[in-house]
Amino acid sequence: MRIDVSRPHGGHISLQAGMNNYEVDFTSALLDTEQPCPANLSAWNGSDPVKRFAVYRNNVVSSLIDALEDTFPVTRELVGDEFFRAMARIFITRVPPKSPVLAEYGDEFPEFIANFSPVQSVPYLADVARLEMFYLTAYHAADATPLDEASFRGALSNADALPSARLQLHPSASVLRSTYAAGSLWAAHQGTIDLATVDPYLAEEILIIRPFWEVLVVPLRPGAGRFIELLANGASFGETALAVSVAFPDFDLTTTLADIIRTGAVVAFNFNEAL
């Protein structure tokens, strides 16, 4: 899909009869500067209401661009502030927030970026934005206490019941399977690794999780991302280990489990005796 900068509406929104016309007029004119200023506005000195209405327009657009800047700081650094704000402005017109909870706003921004033709030369940008949205989601996710290492190892030693066990993952956990080095690019912008050492075209799988209070962005070994995804979807431990071993010849169950224990991604083992 190619996205151009023309107006989203085919024409002027049809006016409903009744008292809420001003809401219809405000909504279309606030998001789209090509729409006329709403009718029936006045000023004490007879000045043109357009300039006064522009205060609302600026409040809406600037505050939403600021919200996206807060959520996507690395995406912004990668394309520069001016470009980011211009891109965000188009996104806001196309996909304005649906909810007053702005921490949820922007979940469609990565897909918008993926289809936004002016950034086709930065193909990894959408995945970096996906990582940042997962980061925000993890930041606000429900709290849960990860399983401690002793309990985890105890559960793994229950050889008879282990294959049918289902694992409850931490509510903040997300896996990003990127065809680019989204995690390393993100880490380079945190100053934790040198950007010069990053090959953006090397595929990476990343776990984004907040086991306690800090959000962690953890690079995963081959197959580990799929392993976590299958467990999250409710597959049993045995089904998951088998499926991932077949799909990823390099998959190493022992080291993957050690990584998972260390990141706090598992909250509980559910051993269902009936299965």
């Binding site: 009744g18 008292m19 809420n20 001003y22 809401e23 219809v24 405000f26 909504t27 606030l30 998001l31 029936n40 506005l41 006045s42 000023a43 004490w44 000195n45 007879g46 000045s47 043109d48 209401p49 357009v50 300039k51 006064r52 209405f53 205060v55 609302y56 409040n59 809406v60 505050s63 939403l64 919200a67 304005p96 927030p97 649906k98 909810s99 007053p100 909870v101 702005l102 921490a103 930041y139 606000h140 996710a141 429900a142 709290d143 509510p171 903040s172 907040r210 209070w213």
Partner: protein
């Protein structure tokens, strides 16, 4: 005039009165200041949060707020309920608010005389509405629903506006007065908004105050504004919350306190956020105004 859905006496009898905030100065709680608050425990009357910033399930915002709430009175201030909307109140958002209020049991909950959502789009600004009998009835029914669902009285805040509607038949203070009478809600008087709107619409702020039932003021807001001009060069003030409270607004605030007596007062500073120390200084200035109001009201018998 349409009859109210229930009398004020019925409502205040049926719903628990919100515990009042102490009549001292408080500040808006900003994530930038979480650690400063917990390391200094400043002498402040209360903290206020924007409800929508605490609607996530968990994480640091709730961890800090829970700790701060243990030691301070709390005001929850909604910015997204869209009480002025033509459509019914968003029940999903009311549910989120109910969850938040149950979790923190704040002394007060307040919202705005404005709308911010239309047709499933949230516009993230406090937008104006015409003041007519039709919008009055609608706003009252929305506030009735909010108070019923949340099982508490709310405070309604007067808006800052940049345009007026030709179809308005009521002045803003008349509209607000009728809402307070019909719904039993309290008034959150934003003195900066009064100054901004009265400047923008060439009205007298003192006449605005005197047209309101000031005995219903349960909280005051103070903030800084930005300055612009309309297209013929007249002053156009913007409620920007990005700087210190202006001296003209401090003066108005003292004049309001002469009329109301001491009232819980919030310093709002949401953009270009200063150091916590600087914010507390602003609150201390409000406390000095409140101390004067206490002295005046002790010497008069009106508020005993």
């Amino acid at each position: 005039m349409p009859s109210p859905s229930h009398s004020e006496a019925d409502l205040t009898g049926a719903l628990p009165l919100s515990c009042r905030l102490p009549a001292t100065a408080g500040v808006g709680l900003k994530p930038e200041h979480y650690t400063a608050v917990l390391s200094t425990y400043p002498k402040l009357g209360f903290f206020e949060i924007h409800a929508e910033n605490y609607m996530g399930a968990g994480g640091l915002p709730h961890r800090y707020l829970s700790r701060i709430r243990e030691d301070y009175p709390l005001s929850v201030h909604g910015v997204g309920l869209s009480i002025g909307s033509a459509k019914a109140i968003d029940e999903g958002h009311l549910d989120r608010l109910a969850t938040l209020l149950n979790r923190y049991q704040p002394e007060v909950f307040s919202e705005h005389l404005a709308w911010s959502s239309h047709g499933g789009t949230y516009l993230n600004d406090l937008l104006p509405l015409p003041y007519t009998q039709e919008t009055l009835t609608r706003v009252c029914s929305h506030i009735d629903r909010v108070q019923e669902r949340l099982q508490r009285r709310m405070l309604l805040e007067n808006p800052s506006t940049y345009v007026e509607f030709t179809q308005s038949t009521l002045s803003e203070p008349e509209f607000i007065t009728d809402v307070l009478q019909r719904t039993g809600c309290g008034l959150l008087l934003d003195v900066n908004n009064v100054f901004v709107s009265c400047t923008n619409h060439h009205r007298d702020p003192l006449a605005y105050f005197d047209a309101l039932p000031l005995s219903r003021v349960e909280e005051i807001h103070l903030a800084g504004f930005a300055e612009d001009r309309d297209d013929v060069g007249a002053s156009l003030l913007i409620d920007a919350h990005g700087c210190a409270v202006a001296s003209a607004v401090w003066n108005l605030y003292c004049q309001v306190l002469e009329r109301t007596g001491p009232v819980a007062t919030l310093i709002e500073w949401d953009n270009d956020i200063p150091t916590f120390e600087r914010l507390v200084e602003e609150a201390e200035f409000a406390d000095r105004c409140l101390a004067t109001a206490w002295r005046t009201h002790k010497s008069s018998s009106r508020y005993e």
